[in-house]
Amino acid sequence: MDDLNLLGPQLALLVGAGLIIIIDVFLPFAGRDAYGQRRPLLTGLAVLAAAGSAGWSLALVLADERGEPFDGMMAVDDFTLFFNFLFAGVAGVIVLGSIDFLNRNRFLGEYLALILAAAAGMSLMAAGTDLITIFIALELQAIALFALIGISKSGSGSEATLKFLLLSAVSTAITLYGMAYLFGLSGETSLDGIASYVSTTDENRSALVLAAVFLTAGLGFKMAVVPFQMWVPDVYEGAPTPVTAFLSVASKAAGFAVVMRIFLVALGEGIITSDWAYLFAAIAAVSMSVGNVLALVQGNIKRMLGYSSIAQAGTILIGLAAVAAEDPQLLLGTSSVVFFLGAYAFTNIGAFLAVIAISHKIGSDEIDDYAGVAKRSPLLALSMAACLFSLTGFPPTAGFIAKVYVFNAAVQADLVWLAIVGVINSVISAYYYLRVVLNMFARDPATEDAFLPSPYLGAALAAAVVGLFAIGVYPTPLIEASESAARVFG
């Protein structure tokens, strides 16, 4: 029972998903009001499941319960709990943000259940401390995401699904290959077991490097960093916008969580530590530069945010490169990555929610069509601007603190060059983020009709915006949470 109690947050999501599917079956399909009745019940249930998951995590924190359920196959520690909150929160907000989208479509139960299942998978990814559990969790969220991306069955949606499916399969295979190497060398599947082999051996260096490269490539797909980013723009554009938001925040964060678990625990000490640090530093620099430069020329806001998310992932990787550059136990880098993921969740979800609200009303995803949104819906435009300023890294928003924190980690790890690459990229990113702001505020709209987002979407967006300002003005709580999550690796 103790084991189940510790995994309560994940189980809450899965139970929610199961209940939604079962109830969905027993509700009447016929009749004009069928959907009108089902919608509040099922979405309410989904939000409840997310809230329950977060609440359970909170109960674990308050009761100070930590442990390693199922004989150390997983760990419920501060790191896991941080990500539990993140994924439950993101899932809840995404459900709220999907209501407009769901109103226009005929599926409901399966969509909500898939979101919850994917969130549970991601949460398990963060908790996994054994290659086997990590792999199963990876698959759980990946399969849920395949279905979500193509759920609207449109042409571009199907193309996106196929692309994501094929590349995901390849990346999974590569990840598995890397895991097989580690297992073959150490004879262990648990990360601690591998760590005790890696930290003592001075043989098989090339095989270890190969394993690290395979894992980086496979998981780089999840983090969406260059050169494993090819799927991002098409999938982001083709998927329903709420799913895109989910992908860009939660899926990315889950990728980073697994990378931190595997690299910091299993490969944290030993002969190849500095090798993967350089690898991450190089990927970070390339991701930021490529993502930002390609984002400059995008006319579609979802593609633009897709490329921007590649650049952001590069910025986050700076923190990981900083972890190992000097000293594997340097916690600042880890903590900065965790903090950045938290801040980024608020910021990017907010940006996508605003896109959902605006694009729905103006009927276009083109940045040029955002002209004059500020006149038609001032609060919405201001919220969008706040998210974009946070993505750029302007104070007093979460993005500012996150960037300063990551660059600080880089400087302290003697990676001043990487920090400089990072700040120059921030300048480049200002160009395309502010272009959207300029369109919304300084240009004249085609029509003057005022509009408002739906109340649920508005509430979700307001929560994100308040969160990103709260973190920007008073970051200490999130900093403390990230630091205690980072101490897991200390």
Partner: protein
Amino acid sequence: MLTLAIFIPLIGAAVIAVLPKAQEGSAKQIAAVTTAIVLSVAAYLFIDYDRGAGGYQFLDSTTWLDSSISDFDLNYAVGLDGLSLPLVLLTAFLGLVSVLISWRIELRPKEYFAWLLVLETSLLGVFSSLDLVLFFLFWEVELIPMYFLISVWGSGNRFYSAWKYVLYTFFGSAFMIVGILTLGFTAGTFDVRELAEVGSFDDAIIPAWSIFTLLSIAFLVKMPVVPFHTWLPDAHTDAPTAVSVMLAGVLLKMGGYGILRMSFSIMPEQAADANLIFAIIAALSILYGAMMTLIQTDLKRLIAYSSVSHMGYVLLGASSIGVVGLTGAAMQMVTHGLITGMLFALVGMVYDRGHTREIGQLRGLATRMPFITAMMLVAGLASLGLPALAGFAAEVTVFLGTFERHEALAICGVVGVAFAAGYILWAIQRVFWGEPDPKWAELTDATEWWERGPLIALTAAIVAIGVYPAWVMDLLRDGVAPIAEKLA
């Protein structure tokens, strides 16, 4: 008290933001009241500052971000010394002026005045911060209101100019944050007072001169100096009048202030080594800016280039690395803020009436608008350094300070003054004197209280400093003296 002064404009902005649409006309009254309160608080601080004791006063501090695994502690720490106090007063003064001369703004007045107030908070914060990261935070916050103010309420090529402004500053500050983080990591603190005690950064992870460069680039871009100045004429020309006043009057001073407070006082060794480079850049800016004024046909652009030239004196004074020169540099910041702020306000009034700033089209305005002409003459003469007006005191001090160290370059500076006499008087002559053009027969003089009031107040300040500079200069000298001591 100081914290209050910094955040009062923000409160005013919040009040304006929640005004119902029907009452957006009262946004300007709220903004005026807010900035008037800030000005009175700033004036109170100016009087209350204990000149005998000197140093940083009105200190407020609290931990804002507490990290347990690194030195990444951020503190909210503010305070004023002799160098920052006059600049805070200047900001508060021009803040009120810029609200008053915007009295007739009709396009989205709520947003306009709210952004103007946010801008004031960020500027007060920049001059008051005693923590490098807090300083950087305010430094960056300033870009957002400026971006909106130029791109929405500007004229001409406003989108491009707003871009250019933000990207140039952001580019500079990107380097600054790396410099700040390196300094903080080396010294284990971001506190300006403690950093100033460190003295040597030779054991930092990157060479000390490179930290100095990272820090200084941002300030040189902001001042601006040649060759980083190209954003300035564009931003000035296309910004609305009140924003030009703030830009010339206060924002450029952020650069000069940063050089003195951050680069020079924290890394005196490197500053002393770089003094010749600074002097050369300064002389270049003075001469280049002055020459560019001669070929301008747009009145606002002409004054913008004169700003490049005049900000060169700030850097020239700083490059003397002596107490006299530094005092002159600080003084030049204050006087340039008043004089150029006034010039931009006047040009804005001419533009509002004639809807052109082309010097070639304006002629004989003196008969139509005697008050504006008289004011223009005062500001122009002050700008070219006429004794008994504010500019003179500053420029003389700069030259006195610089002659010993950089004789030839100081002479370049003096040549710049001769240029200034030429371009200012020539411009005034072309625009205000000559045969009145019948086209401009309908133009009226500045008669409203919100036009005359700020101009008279500015004139009073310029004359007060010109006649008796000591009331500001003594304070500034006490402020820069510790910096000069370290440089010696």
